[in-house]
């Protein structure tokens, strides 16, 4: 009996050992993305003469700048279809294209233009999406950006932000002993079609968009002292909002457009004030002897982020409007300032200094993880796209100030075309239309 028991036990052990398996689960949390290959075929112009604008080029550049798409070169294209009947999928499969965009541009009455487009899945050989955009022919580039937004939105699931505008300040030096020229400029999101909104011999800074994208605010030294102005984009009408002693700076529109946060030092040291735009009543929200500046609204309008050096060096703090509670939210690095919040309320871009160089960093408010996005030395003024995908910022290239952009995952980078003089203080507009 004992032998039997022993034999039984050994058999059990043997079988258990033989069958026991370490259960291995390997987590894959990163990848090496290939940008999606897309062919944007030049749109066929239905009118007479040459097309007023190469809309396909605008769309192609938008897709390329996002870093997530790799457009096929036109010289590689084997055909230039503009209707579904003209599409031969094997021509596009030969180029390893995944998606194909074709279209037509046609003139409309009253100097209008209409873009019709169709998007095809080359591997599945089906049309996946189509639509049209119409508007004034002089706005052809913006129509093209809207098409790019639709394509980007359909393929990534995220609304495109190509049909948006930028504000920035361009400075041309006046030469030895002369004052510089400051120009507040507005352009398309790719830097095209710059329009000078204001020119001054005194400094201009801190341009800010109203949430409806119809008004802007900025700081101008034209009165001899820094003052906050607001300007209507359609009419050009300006209004000086503040004229206090000391600093009047850093205007920030609330998400509902009714309140302007600003920095005033009229009471002795720079503090954040909220101005009701209807009544002009002021409320001080940071009574503190330190420097408080650079307010930024959270997208729900219930809290503000701001920079304060109450702890010695500039760090980012958060103020809750309902309770008045203030708490610090940045703890890494020696200097954290000028926060801007993405529409998702979770990603915050800011200027971060660590060991000497000033970089743009992304702070995730949920995980508290800080990720440095740039590798140059003197980066400042980050502004985040309304879809949260890219960050525009000012930096230096040699001695010149330039604008550059980086995606929030750090993968895609591009520089805006260089202009005369120094370019600085970019501000990315909100979406220009409701959808």
């Amino acid at each position: 009996m004992k032998t039997l028991a022993v034999a039984l036990l050994n058999m059990c052990l043997l079988l258990a050992v033989m069958n026991a398996r370490a259960d291995l689960t390997i987590e894959i949390t990163k990848g090496m993305d290939n940008p999606t290959a897309i062919a944007v075929v030049p749109f066929a112009w239905q009118g007479g003469g040459a097309a007023p604008e190469d809309v396909a080029q605008v769309i192609e550049s938008d897709m390329l700048r996002s870093g997530q798409f790799a457009p096929v070169a036109r010289t590689d294209m084997l055909g230039l279809p503009s209707t579904q009947a003209e599409v031969f999928y094997r021509d596009w499969r030969a180029l390893d294209t995944e998606y194909l965009l074709i279209g037509k541009a046609s003139p409309q009455p009253n100097k209008g233009m209409r873009l019709d487009y169709e998007l095809f899945d080359v591997l599945r050989q089906t049309r996946v999406f189509s639509g049209f955009e119409s508007g004034p022919a002089s706005d052809a580039r913006m129509l093209a950006h809207r098409v790019a937004d639709k394509i980007y939105g359909h393929l990534t699931g995220v609304r495109g932000a190509f049909a948006t505008r930028l504000l920035y300040v361009s400075v041309v030096r006046g030469g030895a002993g002369n004052k510089d020229y400051y120009r507040l400029t507005m352009s398309d999101s790719d830097g095209a079609r710059p329009i000078v909104l204001l020119e001054s011999r005194e400094p201009l800074l801190a341009p800010a968009w109203a949430p409806d994208a119809l008004q802007i605010a900025y700081v101008s030294f034209e009165t001899g002292r820094p003052a906050i102005f607001r300007q209507d984009l359609a009419t050009g009408k300006r209004e000086q909002l503040t004229n206090f002693k000391g600093l009047n700076s850093a205007p920030a529109w609330s998400p509902d457009g009714k309140t302007m946060a600003m920095v005033l030092s009229k009471d002795g040291n720079p503090d954040i004030y909220l101005m009701d735009l209807a009544t002009r009543q002021l409320t001080n929200i940071t009574r503190n002897y330190a420097i408080e500046t650079e307010p930024a609204w959270m997208p729900d309008g219930k809290a503000l982020l701001f920079t304060s050096d109450r702890g010695g060096k500039p760090q980012i703090y958060r103020y809750e409007l309902a309770t008045g509670a203030t708490k610090r939210i940045t703890f890494e690095g020696t200097y954290n300032a000028r926060a801007r919040v993405a529409q998702d309320g979770r990603n915050v871009v800011l200027v971060h200094q660590k060991e000497g160089s000033f970089n743009i960093a992304l702070l995730d408010l949920v995980t508290n993880r800080l990720q440095i996005l740039t590798a140059t030395q003197l980066d400042e003024s980050p502004s985040i796209a309304p879809n949260g995908s890219m960050v525009l910022y000012a930096t230096k290239s040699g001695d010149r100030g330039i604008l550059a952009a980086v995606s929030v995952d750090g993968g895609a980078k591009f520089r805006l075309p260089s202009r005369e003089g120094d370019v600085r203080e970019p501000a990315w507009s909100p979406y220009l239309s409701a959808k």
């Binding site: 390997i26 987590e27 390329l64 798409f69 949260g388």
Partner: protein, 259 residues
């Protein structure tokens, strides 16, 4: 002869001997149970390999820098001549320096060379390798790294260390082949079960739990299929292979995406 006393004379009444019979049946039953029962659910020995947090800062490797090293130096991005096709990459419309992190896992604490500085954004264009070439380079590197560490401490490695080391190799290989679709989002999860044979070849891939996004699931399956095989597993002792790598799970859950 006395026939009455011979054992062959009397008819023998067959008698079932209870205890040995019972024991025999029980043993056979137990045998069947042990052979067929799925032990995986009950063993607590689960190894979840997460990506190593410490990663060497990688430098974009220019194709011109790749020369064969004469000695088995510490792992650098310099594969053997026959392992890499140094072809000029396809000219892309705008050559932008997009640093692809070539992360190397550290299965054991070993002295590695100081990290190389990351590239500055204003660099002139460097010849860019296709994903295939880069993946092949990384695999060659990893294979050599694992082989060296193996030879240095082959017999001494505990089973867990070995498993972790080869798991990290599989992980990094799959990472290099995983291209996510534009609709992928951080936090999406797809669980695959793959079956390997001792040569390292993947013989089956199945989706156990999908993410709800078919393009995302397909990209995970494609990553494993493109990887194809992990020949380095041939160096594993058979027992280790059977225990851990015959059938394993891959959980695809991106954390590095833009959205």
């Amino acid at each position: 002869m006395n026939t009455s006393s011979s054992i062959y004379s009397k008819p023998v009444t067959p008698r079932i001997i209870l205890r040995p019979a019972l024991a025999s049946v029980l043993l056979h039953a137990l045998l069947l149970v042990f052979l067929t029962f799925n032990w995986m659910d009950s063993t607590p020995d689960v190894i979840t390999v997460k990506p190593q947090p410490m990663v060497i800062n990688a430098r974009l490797v220019a194709a011109s820098e790749l020369k064969p090293k004469p000695k088995p130096a510490p792992p650098k991005a310099a594969p053997k001549p026959k392992a890499k096709p140094v072809a000029k990459p396809k000219p892309k419309p705008v050559a932008k320096p997009k640093p692809k992190p070539v992360a190397k896992p550290k299965p054991k604490p070993a002295a590695k060379p100081a990290p190389k500085p990351a590239p500055t954004p204003a660099e002139p264009e460097q010849p860019r390798l296709t994903q295939q070439e880069l993946a092949a380079l990384t695999r060659a590197d990893l294979a050599r790294a694992v082989a060296q560490e193996e030879s240095a401490a082959a017999a001494a490695a505990t089973s867990a260390e070995m498993a972790a080391s080869y798991a990290a190799l599989i992980q990094q290989t799959v990472i290099n082949y995983w291209s996510r679709p534009p609709s992928a989002r951080n936090g999406m999860e797809t669980l695959l079960s793959i079956q390997l044979i001792p040569t390292g070849e993947v013989v089956s891939v199945t989706v156990i739990k999908g993410s709800g996004n078919s393009a995302f699931d397909q990209s995970a399956v494609n990553a494993v299929k493109k990887a194809g095989s992990f020949p380095e597993l041939q160096n594993l002792p058979a027992r280790e292979f059977e225990k851990t790598f015959r059938r394993l799970s891959l959980l695809f859950r991106p954390e590095d995406l833009r959205y």
